[in-house]
Amino acid sequence: MRILVCISKTPDTTSKIVFKDGNTKFDETGVQWIINPYDEWYALVKAIELKEKDPAATIHLITVGSADCEPIIRKALALGGDEAIRINSDSTDSYFIASQIAAIAQAGNYDIIFTGKETIDYNGSSIGGMVAALVNKPYISLAASFALNENTATIIREIEGGEETCELSLPAVISCQKGMAEQRIPNMRGIMAARTKPLKVVEPVAAEALTSIVSFELPVAKAGVKLVAADNVAELVRLLHEEAKAI
């Protein structure tokens, strides 16, 4: 079984978001980079669990990004995974990124392609669905559980206000969220092993960027909290009704 896990890098969840160049670029000064939590905690760990059950399985990691992604890839390799591919491009257009992943996916004949449910910086929730369409394979989004029996996968996916269980035959593309697996911490052996695992750098295939970010904005700051005394709950209800018109 061949598994491809899509890994992206995102700013640490506590990062202060600042823009530069007239609000056209994200200011990376002082930003700590992490593996996108959905990719690390759920997509990658699920792939590792599958390999633990079937040692013949291979896990390849793919990231589309410039050289500064390499610490993130090494960390992902330390968690598990046999080798990594970095597509050398810093594009943020989802279609461009998906085209790169699709090209590797086609050539690599993978049974499972795992992505995270979304990146916590650009919040596209798009790459998985685009890759699936480009390679013409079934797509299950927002998967919260995944079990494999021979070539049949049983997946629980989130739907509005509940969950749905579905079955399908591989190959397939699956976007992963909470429930898929439990977060793991890399151990010393993994970190040592990661240093010598192959990390291939590949130049991007030709693909168009269908969108471009024109500018960024920060939200307007709140006016400040209006505090109501604990013994005057009726006043809060009045404010919510008359002033905020929220109830």
């Binding site: 916590i120 269980t165 960024f216 939200p219 909290v225 209800v237």
Partner: protein, 320 residues
């Protein structure tokens, strides 16, 4: 040239997020002098002609029950055929679970630029620029769609539904579904509850509640307000509440009209999931809790005293 709005439905009914998408799509059509039409795959018991009230003149229906289940491959083929048949150049759908499954595939299949999670009408003064939340609600990006065909998924609770007078003509669209690529074997819905992403009001509680046995008062308040319930991540991680209630950067992102946070400290990762709520109320016994900085209204005090009182006062208001 038309705007085609995809209608999402479940159990025979059109979802609330689709009414927002209809209004939004109709407004885009008006803005650009285009026709607004809707596409419904599958069958519903709702009267489709009444969708005219939201500004569409025509509803195309491919009324094959095979479409009542969400199978992305089956849907993508049908949608691309419908886009070709109707000559639509802008495709609008809700950025809910269904939209997240479909919009990227539509974009790739049509090679049409996608803005996922739009929160405002496009600005067409210089290109076609759509605003969306990025960095988990900590910022916004204005994104230009560079292609002739455009796909926009609208973030739920971001666009106000307007209801007018029109009546739409309903037209059968003959689409043959592909064989299913997946088999749905079970559906497990939290019955009776308001879906979190669609809710106007959300009542949410955190570790300050001490244990799952104390959620009765939270549910009571939610029921009184017809609200959905939510929780912070450690609450879901400790299995006090189901994981689909977990809001925040790594959970569900919501933008209700009113968010009431009870016994939640307001960590930056929690705020990332709720900071687009219109009004935020915080109830916390610690006046220094960071959540107060992001709140519109607050009470410093013990949740166990305040929440039951709040429910009582709201009931009084409803009865007045």
């Amino acid at each position: 040239m038309s705007v085609l709005i995809l209608i999402d439905h479940a159990d025979g009914h059109i979802k609330k997020a689709s009414f927002e998408a209809l209004t939004y799509g109709a407004d885009i059509a008006q803005q650009n002098g285009m026709a607004a039409e809707a596409l419904l795959l599958g069958t519903v018991t709702d009267d489709l002609a009444t969708l005219g009230k939201y500004g569409v003149t025509k509803v195309h229906q491919a009324g094959n029950t095979a479409f009542n289940q969400l199978d992305v491959q089956v849907y993508l083929k049908a949608i691309t055929e419908a886009v070709n048949a109707t000559g639509a150049t802008i495709i609008v759908l809700a950025h809910n679970q269904t939209g997240k499954a479909l919009a990227p595939g539509i974009s790739a299949a049509l090679k049409a630029g996608l803005v996922a999670g739009a929160i405002a009408l496009p600005d067409t003064s210089n290109g076609f620029v759509v605003k969306k939340a990025v960095f988990s609600g900590k910022a916004f990006a204005n994104v230009n769609i560079n292609t002739a065909i455009k796909v926009i998924s609208l973030s739920p609770n971001s666009y106000k539904v307007t209801v007018g007078q029109g009546i739409a003509t309903v037209q059968e669209l003959n689409l043959t579904p592909l064989p299913a690529s997946i088999k749905i074997t079970a559906v497990d819905k939290v019955s009776g509850d308001v879906p979190l992403t669609e809710a106007d009001i959300v009542v949410s509680a955190g570790r300050g509640l001490k244990g799952p046995e104390n959620w009765g008062m939270v549910e009571e308040l939610a029921k009184t307000l017809h609200a959905a319930t939510a929780c912070s991540r450690p609450v879901a991680d400790s299995h006090w509440r189901p994981h689909h209630e977990h809001v925040g950067q790594t959970g569900v992102q919501i933008a209700p009209n009113l968010y009431i946070a009870i016994g939640i400290s307001g960590a930056i990762q929690h705020l990332a999931g709720v900071n687009r709520s219109k009004t935020i109320v915080v109830i916390n016994k610690d006046a220094e809790a960071p959540f107060f900085k992001a709140a519109d209204y607050g009470i410093v005090g013990d949740a166990f005293e305040i929440v039951p009182k709040l429910t009582e006062e709201i009931k009084k208001m409803h009865n007045a």
